[in-house]
């Protein structure tokens, strides 16, 4: 936040009503307020629904949320850096999961190896699409609607190529689905635990990459102001390529992890997740990678927590409702500043 803003807001706060002061406080500390609300909701749920139930849903929420966060980071980086609202991002999760499935089931490679191949293949696909589609379109100064509809076309192609070869029926990766670990009265499947640990470690690695490496700083600079970054000598072409490696690779990883922890996948599963990914992205402030990380975890938690109070048939609607509320109340997200709108 710019230094001058603090002084001006203090000046403005003089003579304000408590309500106005509270609003200003909320405007200036959105993340803190949001965290407080989450903690309050969590405490209330734990108190009324029992600690065991609440704890179990929280674990489930973190398992799903960490994978959603992985998917959301790529979506938000691509938006922030290229101003591309990528409706094909969900189907990139699907493609990643099915590539892993191909190597894991059809070619009978170990799961871990299949996962790594899927991530590498998706990263390569991301780069190829940048070179044949997105870079030429940027050169032509394509409009927003033009690019948006191209991503929808790409989504159709990805999803249906998967369906063409793999069929529409649900399929499962070859992972351990029986073993569970117990702690107090809580349980977590072995695969779910590995998924959670993997996702958390990768999230940490990505956050570190963005914060301390030169590449990460350049990515954030591009997301902040593409033209300015280019003028100051950042090799934008190179950074954009690495952005796609990261975004598509993480999408592939998220797809495989969700496929492993969720039990089964079908060609539509990535697209059905797309709005949850958008919810995470918008919640964290579109273009903000740390925001997407937090947003993904919040969406995962919100979906699982909702099942404590309402029928789980409504679970899939929770992220859409979060999305709509955030867009109405605070479209710049909990970490965004109003200037980014």
């Amino acid at each position: 936040m710019p230094a001058g803003m603090e002084a001006s807001s203090i000046a403005a706060a003089n003579g304000a009503t408590p309500w106005q002061r509270a609003r200003r406080f909320a405007d200036e500390n959105p993340a803190g307020i949001f965290l407080a609300i989450m903690a309050l909701v969590g405490t209330a749920l734990a108190a009324t629904q029992g600690l065991d139930d609440f704890g179990q849903r929280t674990i489930n929420g973190f398992v799903n949320g960490s994978s959603i966060a992985l998917g959301a980071i790529g979506l938000t980086l691509v938006y922030g850096i290229l101003r591309l609202t990528n409706f094909a991002h969900g189907d990139m999760l699907t493609a990643g999961a099915y590539i892993a499935l191909l190597f894991n089931l059809t070619l009978e490679l170990p799961f871990i190896l299949s996962l790594l191949i899927a991530v590498a293949a998706m990263a390569a696909l991301g780069v190829i699409l940048e070179l044949v589609m997105w870079r030429p379109m940027r050169k032509r100064k394509a409009g927003m609607l033009q690019l948006l509809l191209m991503t929808i076309g790409l989504a159709f192609v990805l999803r249906n190529v998967v369906q063409f070869f793999a069929g529409a029926d649900p399929k499962s990766l070859d992972v351990n689905v029986t073993d569970s670990y117990f702690f107090l009265d809580l349980s977590i499947g072995r695969t779910q635990l590995y998924v959670l640990i993997t996702a958390m470690l990768v999230l940490l690695a990505v956050a570190t990459l963005l914060r301390v490496t030169s590449l990460g700083r350049q990515m954030r600079a591009l997301a902040d102001n593409f033209d300015l970054a280019e003028t100051t000598g950042v090799d934008t072409g190179r950074v954009v390529i690495w952005t796609w490696v990261l975004a598509a690779g993480l999408a592939g990883l998220a797809g495989v992890l969700l496929g492993a922890s969720g039990g089964s996948i079908n060609p539509n599963f990535g697209f059905q997740l797309l709005l949850s990914l958008f919810a995470a992205v918008v919640l964290g402030g579109i273009g903000n990678a740390y925001g997407a990380l937090a947003g993904g975890l919040v969406i995962g938690l919100a979906q699982e927590w909702s099942t404590l109070v309402i029928d789980s048939i409504w679970k899939e609607a929770v992220s859409f409702i979060v999305l709509i509320i955030v867009l109405l109340v605070r479209p710049q997200g909990i970490f965004g500043s109003s200037r980014s709108l």
């Binding site: 609202t85 191209m150 063409f164 919810a279 918008v282 048939i313 609607a317």
Partner: protein
């Protein structure tokens, strides 16, 4: 397989045996998507509003009409206008907050809205019959909603089509095709006149430069609301036609895919031309369904997938090389940030 594709496939493949009736049903879907895309044309092509909630408005139109007739017991003459009013109201309710958002946020927000509508239809079983379709069963037993249409359809068949030799099992869907395309034509003419009016010129001004339109004293927000409201009302008509066609109503017919396909129809015909929508929907649906006719030795799933791969490629190539569509004007395809 995507659920909408499924319902379309089922709807079409039962008639596949006789060529005439197959293409008539294709024409019916082309007409329904044409109606949907006319609304999008007004929003996207003339106002610059990226409405991605068209499937949701269509759902509200379809469900409200059926509920008003079957559950409330209203007559057609009362139920259809009321259903349209409800849908327009939903459009305004969505627009009130959403139209203040930047255009890409608006796109995401309207998709989220349409999915909330669909999931509500799926889960609120007492109201909509949910996935099991108790409302469908009621439709079959009472036939309140479809019977007046069936009577009208029989009358059209006996008095208009029989004399020119279009009768029998092959042409059973011909009356619906006729009504849909007459409606589509009338709507296209009406909307064309509307956008040529001073009101329409304000819409275009907003699309080109909202700030400039504001500076001239035009209430841009109010015009956008009107544009979205009209578009939602038109989507309700598409919803009714869908119920007439299927003689049932199912949430799977209102997935976001429907909106995306309507966008494909829109950009194929070209932005800022209502006539283009009519041409676009014919080209798109006959291309999509014609692909069935080519025998590549594929199974049903692969044929369905291949059709949507082609649809996706058409969308990508069109946007890359001819963003103005087949009939649109290039200078009208400026939709930046």
């Amino acid at each position: 397989m995507s659920a909408v594709a499924d319902t379309l496939l089922v709807a079409i493949s039962t008639d596949f045996l006789t060529q005439w009736s197959f293409w008539i049903v294709v024409g019916i879907f082309a007409g329904i998507y044409g109606v949907l895309a006319l609304g999008l044309q007004l929003n996207v092509g003339y106002t610059g509003v990226l409405n991605f909630g068209q499937a949701g408005f269509m759902a509200i139109g379809a469900y409200s009409a059926v509920i008003l007739v079957v559950d409330v017991g209203l007559s057609y003459a009362a139920a259809l206008p009321l259903s349209m009013l409800i849908t327009v109201g939903a459009g305004l309710l969505v627009g009130l907050p959403a139209l203040r958002l930047r255009s890409d946020y608006l796109a995401i927000a309207t998709i989220a809205f349409s999915e909330v509508v669909r999931i509500t239809a799926k889960n609120a079983r007492e109201l909509t019959g949910g996935n099991q379709g108790t409302l469908d069963i009621e439709l079959e037993n009472n036939r309140f909603f479809v019977d007046p249409w069936t009577d009208a359809s029989t009358w059209i068949g006996d008095n208009l089509l029989d004399p020119i030799g279009l009768s029998g099992q092959d042409f059973i869907n011909m009356p619906l095709l006729l009504v849909i395309w007459l409606t589509l034509g009338a709507l296209a003419i009406g909307l064309t006149l509307l956008v040529r009016s001073p009101w329409g010129r304000v819409l275009r001004a907003i699309r080109e430069d909202e700030d400039a339109a504001r500076a001239l004293g035009k209430n841009a927000f109010s015009y956008k609301m009107q544009s979205l409201g009209i578009s939602a009302g038109i989507a309700a008509i598409a919803g009714w036609f869908l119920v007439f066609q299927a003689e049932s109503v199912n949430q799977q017919s209102f997935e976001p895919l429907v909106t995306f396909l309507a966008y494909a129809v829109l950009v194929l015909g070209g932005l800022a031309s209502f006539g283009g929508v009519l041409a676009g929907t014919i080209i798109f649906w006959f291309l999509l369904e014609g692909l069935r006719e080519i025998d590549l030795g594929l199974d049903g799933n692969q044929i369905a997938s291949l059709r949507f791969i082609v649809a996706g490629l058409v969308l990508i190539l069109l946007m890359a090389f001819r963003p103005q569509g087949v009939f649109g004007k290039k200078e009208e395809m400026v939709l930046g940030e």
